[in-house]
Symmetry: C2
Subunit: 220 residues, 2 copies
Amino acid sequence: MMANDLPFDLSALSIFPAVCENGGMAPAARKHDITQPAISQGIGDIESRSDTLLFDRSVRPLALTATGAVLREQAGIVIAAVRPIASQLQEMQSGRVRQLRVGIVDSLSRALTAELSAFMKTRAERLVVHTGLTDSHAAALFTRQLDLIIGEDDLEDVAGLERSQLTAVPGGHSRTPHARGVRAGAAHGSLRAFFRALASLPSGYSCTTRPAGTDARNRL
Amino acid sequence: MMANDLPFDLSALSIFPAVCENGGMAPAARKHDITQPAISQGIGDIESRSDTLLFDRSVRPLALTATGAVLREQAGIVIAAVRPIASQLQEMQSGRVRQLRVGIVDSLSRALTAELSAFMKTRAERLVVHTGLTDSHAAALFTRQLDLIIGEDDLEDVAGLERSQLTAVPGGHSRTPHARGVRAGAAHGSLRAFFRALASLPSGYSCTTRPAGTDARNRL
DNA sequence: TCTCGTTACGCAGGACGTAACTATT
DNA sequence: AATAGTTACGTCCTGCGTAACGAGA
C-alpha cells in the first residue's frame, strides 16, 4: 500500500475552512450538500492522522484551538494554490491562454509587434502589448502585471529569471541564437510552459528554454 | 456526495513527481512500495479528472507532455507547501517551536532580553535574539530571516503586517496597551498562531492579536 | 427542549493487487 | 525477446449516508 505520510487529504482540507467560515459543521454541511457526520468524520480524520485537536468541542458554537488556527491559515494557502492549477492545465491542453500581456523593448517593438500579434493570434484570446524599457518591464513581470517580456539582451542582469528564460530566434531551428535578431523573453507560471510547448510547434520561431540543451521532447 | 471540483488528490499528486524523477512508472512503483498498475491508475485518474494528457505513451522512456510539465512544476510547489504543515501542527500542539529568531529594537533590548529569554525558555528549543533597528528587522522578517520582531511603536508604517500583528503588554490582562512599556511584535506562519496561543497561557504577558477585540477564545 | 456533534452501522464506490494483454525498443 | 504500461477483474477498505445517541445552551 501507499506510504502516504501526508496528514490530510485535499477533500478533507477543503471542508475544514468551510466549517470555520460557516460557524460550525452543520451549516457547512447544508451549504456543501453533504451530511453532518461526513464533516465530523472528515475533521476527525485530519485530527487523528496529524495527531492534533482542531476544535474545542466543549463549547458552543465550536471554537478553534490554536492548532486549528494554524491549519485554517495553511489550508487557505494550499487551497488557493491548488484551485488555479486546473485552469492552468486546461490552458496548456488547449494551447491557448485567455490573456497574454507582453512587454517589448522600444527598439524591437517596431519590428516585432506585428509579427508577434500574428503569432499569438491563435494562442491567446487577448493580446496586450506594452512598449517601453526592459527594466520597467522586468519590474512589471515580477509584480505579475506582465506575463512575458521581450528584450534585446538575454536579461542576465535581471535576477530571478534564470529558470524562466526563453530565447527565440526567428525562422529556423538552430539552437544557438543568431547574432542578429536575437531576443530574449521571460515568462512565468503556466505561460512559461506554454512557450515551452510552442517550441515543438511548427512556426516561424523556435523557442528553446534555458539551460540550453533541452530539446523538443521533454525527457523525464 | 461531495462536490470535489479539485482535479486531483494529494496522494495522486505526490506520486506524479515520483514518476517524473524515477524515469517511469515501474521504477517509481518499486521505490514507493506500490504496484505499477496502481501508479498507472493514479496518473490516469488525474488525467481523466482534469481532462488532460500528462504523458506521451507512444515513446519509451515515457515523455512528459507540455501539460505534464506544468503539473510537474505545480505539484512540486503544492507538495512543498503541504509537507511542512504537519510539523507546524505538531509544534502548535506541543506548544514548542524548534527555533525562534527574534529581533528587538535597541531601546528595548536592555529591558526585555532577559525577560523574553525566561519567557521563551519553555516555549522554544532555541532562542536567537538580534538587536538593532526595527526597519532592518522588518526587512529580515519579510525575508524569513527573523520569526518575530519587537519594536516600540505598533509598526503601522510597515506594510503587510496588519494581520500578523501582536501587541504584548507586561503583567496584566488589560486589552488596551499601557502608555508605558507598550511594545508590538510581528510574526508570521505558525509562530503567529504560537503567540496567539500564548495569549491564553498564564504568564507575565498578555498578548492580543489585532484587530483588537479578539479574545482568548478563538471564535469561528 | 432544541440544536448540534458524535457514534454505530450498512452500503456503494474506489483503490490497490494479481494476472493477462499490448506495445515499444 | 524483454521490459514497461494498460486493461480486466476480484477483494478490501474507506468514505458517506441513515439512524440512534449524547451533550451544550
